[in-house]
Symmetry: C2
């Protein structure tokens, strides 16, 4: 095929072999009602002619694209990259392709991405929500069209959609209890938009741990920001102004925790002597900062696999009703020097 030449179609193959296009079509998808030898000949000829199936035509006729949409807040984390790798593996094995987009943490772009997915007729949609998403009306057109929508990690508090996540409440409870056991009594909690389960659940777990250990919850010890590196520096400045100083910090992600630690250190605070620290996510940064950061680890790859398998299962059984059950994955608390009180 030379530049600009016309694409080969099943009709061209049919004409060349003097058979019908229907047979060519069936042969190429290994339909049982086509003779083996005919199949071989057709496949061989198709290859020779540089045939490439036209997915537009096929999709149009079949009313399905074999594409799954994926909307995530950002791509730049090991966690997300792992999730995606897990999703891709499972979906590719099941003959689906993945259409990825990032919302950049804004509902506006999330809506726009969802619409793109709709126009491009994805067969299913997998979503991890942006910070400021207040409602999920933009996913209703999918439900109306019977296109499965699955949430993972950053889910929405609603029973209509299947969801995959970890027990953020329990993880935060454990990490807070750990800090308390190390002798902390005034624990700052840095977190983000309470619209997102991952952050509201962690705050709730933190509160419950305080309560169970007879510590009073203080609103003033909760800092809400966007958990960015810059926010961490600012949080440090807020902490420095607290009187008396707190004796521990539990940040809802590692990036923010690390930059917060850096600024505190620059201001003469000794870690972990003056202040214990804990983060969340087990980012590579945690093993670089000194002292190494205590954190919660959970496997993105596995979460991706589980979510994708759930999707496949729903696509395979589109006819029958599937209750939207939730899957809760494991995590582990990793204790490092940052949260160990020197005795």
């Amino acid at each position: 095929m030379t530049v600009g030449a016309k694409e080969t179609t099943i009709y061209d193959i049919a004409a060349k072999l003097d058979i019908s296009a229907a047979t060519v079509s069936r042969a190429l998808k290994d339909h049982p009602r086509v003779n083996k030898n005919t199949k071989k000949l057709i496949v061989k000829t198709a290859a020779e002619m540089g045939y490439l199936s036209n997915s537009f035509a096929s999709n149009l006729r079949k009313k399905s694209s074999n594409i799954i949409g994926l909307i995530v807040p950002r791509l730049n984390s090991n966690f997300m990259s792992d999730v995606i790798a897990g999703i891709e593996k499972v979906l590719n094995n099941n003959n689906y392709n993945v259409f990825i987009s990032q919302s950049l943490e804004t509902m506006t772009k999330e809506i726009s991405n969802a619409n793109d997915m709709l126009v491009n007729r994805v067969d299913g949609l997998m979503v991890s929500l942006a910070y400021d998403t207040t409602n999920i009306n933009h996913f209703e057109p999918f439900v109306k069209r019977n296109i499965p929508v699955i949430f993972f990690d950053r889910v929405f508090e609603q029973d209509d959609y299947p969801q995959i996540y970890i027990d953020n409440f329990k993880a935060a409870y454990e990490i807070t209890a750990h800090l308390i056991k190390q002798g902390s009594k005034r624990i700052v909690h840095i977190t983000a938009s309470q619209l997102r389960n991952v952050y509201s659940d962690r705050l709730a777990g933190y509160k419950k741990a305080l309560e169970d250990n007879n510590l009073k919850f203080e609103e003033a010890l909760v800092i809400i920001n966007n958990l960015s590196s810059e926010a961490g520096h600012e949080a440090a400045n807020q902490i420095l102004k607290m009187a008396p100083l707190p004796d521990a910090v539990f940040s809802a992600n590692d990036i923010c925790a690390v930059s917060c630690m850096q600024t505190l250190k620059k201001n003469g605070i000794r870690l972990p002597d003056d202040l214990l620290f804990a983060g969340f996510n087990n980012d590579p940064l945690t093993c670089v900062i000194e002292p190494n950061l205590t954190t919660i680890n959970y496997k993105g790859y596995e979460m991706g696999e589980v979510a994708a398998k759930q999707m496949i299962s729903r696509l395979m059984n589109k006819d029958e009703f599937q209750p939207a059950h939730n899957l809760i994955l494991k995590y582990e608390l990793i204790v490092r020097e940052s949260s160990l009180r020197n005795k």
Copy 2:
């Protein structure tokens, strides 16, 4: 529209308004030859009926998808995430969507991804190559079909494709010269697959800087690995065995540099006193490791924008021949404590 109901088509709209589907089609895309009032009525009715354009049919007829494929080695870096954000912004503004996939640094998956892109009939393809890609035959089907292919960052040494990258030779030269100026004479260079321009150019720049400063190039000082965190630890062990010890290390990426520094520090090497260090990419890690790491910074977002604009330009002028010229972007050397000899 209720679950399972049939999708509204332009024929449904046409029937309801007792006009032809052709007019509906033209009205919906704001064709000048349709009366303004008719347009309004059609748009309104379409909205009321919950009409959603069928992209399969449209693409089939128009022979284009308005989708650009994007293949990158991995998604989990700030750099790549920025590149993608830049690409998305430009392409979305021009009514294109982006189909993203990661090769996970293997040629096998890169080929598989390319085929998926081909089957899904992308209108253009943007690629940053995997470590072990030895040839780019898998992109020829695109060229044959007159589908633009553009390489960025990890490009291929061949003039047939437009390429966007930074001057890796010069950057490496500068960083090496900087280390030499600080008094280094035996500089280790850690790098990856020499198949990739980014690494071979950096090695060449390193060599040239040595030469220009009358330092002999020593094969034994070059470590080739996959630049992962683990590889950094191993590199440190190799370095520890060198006798005499080198007096500086220039790593072709930051992640590897940082883990290498960590292991060296654990083994009693003082940084930067015993050994100067420099990395590449300006990863967030560079500001966390102690001492902070000297590195090369270049903006991914800008690279994405430039590459995408190049793509748009080629798509706009598909008829006319476009010479495959290369675009070389700016970078900056960021000097931090890791490469400053204490006097």
